[in-house]
Amino acid sequence: MTDYELAVECCLMAGRLMMESGAETYRAEDTMDRMAISQQLTQSQSFVTPTGIIFSGNKNHPTKLVRINNRTTDLEKIALVNGVSRKLASGEIRLEEAYEELKKIDEEHKTYPFWIKIIAASIASGAFLLLFGAPLFDVPSAMIAGGVGYSVAEMLEEKTRVKFFAEFLAALVISVMATFSVAYGLGYEIDKIIIGSVMPLVPGLLITNAVRDLMAGHFVSGLSKGAEAFLTAFAIGAGVALVLSL
C-alpha cells in the first residue's frame, strides 16, 4: 500500500467507526478532513451521510465509498477515534501507527457487559419514576419493567435488525407488566410506572444529533436522523397505546 492509499484508508476507517458508534455527521467529516490535511491531502473532499461515506483524496485518484450498515451508540469509541485523530494531526504518531490503533479499536473495542447495561437501565427507570413524583412503593415494579423492557429491545434488535419493531415490542412488554403490577396491588400509578420504564428506550442521541447536524448545515443527515427519532418515538407510543386500549 502506498502512503496515499494508507492515508485514504485511515480517513475512511475513522469516519466509519465514528458513524457506526453514533457521532454527529459534521464531527465525522471534520475528523476526516483534519486527518487528511495532516497527511498533505489538502484538496480532499468528504461527504458523510448516516448510511455511507464518500471520500476523495485528490483529483488524480479514484474516489472511495464506504457503506455503514449498523449504527449503535458507543460514546467511548467516538472518544477513542477522536483521540487518535488528534494525535495524528498534532504529529504525535505516524500514519502507520494511527492505522494500527484504529484497526485495534475496530476489532477489539468492548462495551460494558450486557447485564451491567440492564442494571443501569433499571436504575435509571427507578430514578426517573421518583423524579416524576411517584411514591416510593412503585419503584420495584418500575425497575423490573424498565430492565426487562430494555433487554427485550436490545435482544430483539440484535436478532431482527429492525429497530422500530424491537422498540414497539419492548414498550408493549413494559405496559403489560405495569398493568399487571397495578392490577395485583404492586404499584399505584400506572402512568408514571410506564413513563419511567420507557425512558431507557427514548432515542436521546438521535434527537441531539439531528439538531446539531441541521445546525451545521448537514440537511440530509439531520432530516434522516430526525425521521428515525420520530419513528422510534412513534413505535414506543404505539406499543403503549395498544396495551392501554385493550
Partner: protein, 149 residues
Amino acid sequence: MTYLLQGILSFIAASAFGVIFNAPKKSLFYCGLVGMTGWLVYSFVNHLNNDQVIASFAGSFSVAFVAHLMAKKFKMPMIIFSVAGIIPLVPGGSAYNAMRHVVEKDYGVAVEYAALALMISGSIAMGLVFAEIITQIWVKVIGKLKLKP
C-alpha cells in the same frame, strides 16, 4: 420534593444513561453532573413560572453549555456529556398523555398534549442551538483577545 433529593436522583439517572450509551468510565461522573445541572435548572424554572416550555429551554441550554465546558476541559467530543443530560428533559409525560387520550378517543385533549410535547421538543432543540452559538462566539472572542498582545 427538595432540590437535594432531585439533584441526587437526576445524577443517578444521568450516570446510568451514561452506562447505557457506553460513555468512557472516567466521564461517567461528569455525565451525571451535567444531567444534574440540567434537571435542577429545569425544575427551578418550572417552579418559578410553571411553564414547561421555557423550563425545558433553560434546562437544555444549561446542559449544552456545561457539556461544552467539560468537552473543552477533557478534550473529548461534547456529545459524550450532553446526551445523557438531555434525556431527563425529553417530554415523556406529555407524549404519554397525548397517546392515552388518543386511545380514549378524546382527541381534543390529545392534540393539546401533543402540541405541548412538540413545543417542548422544539425548545430543547433551541436550547442546544443557542448554547452552541454562544460558546462559539465566546471561543472566537477569547481567542482574539489572547492573540492581540
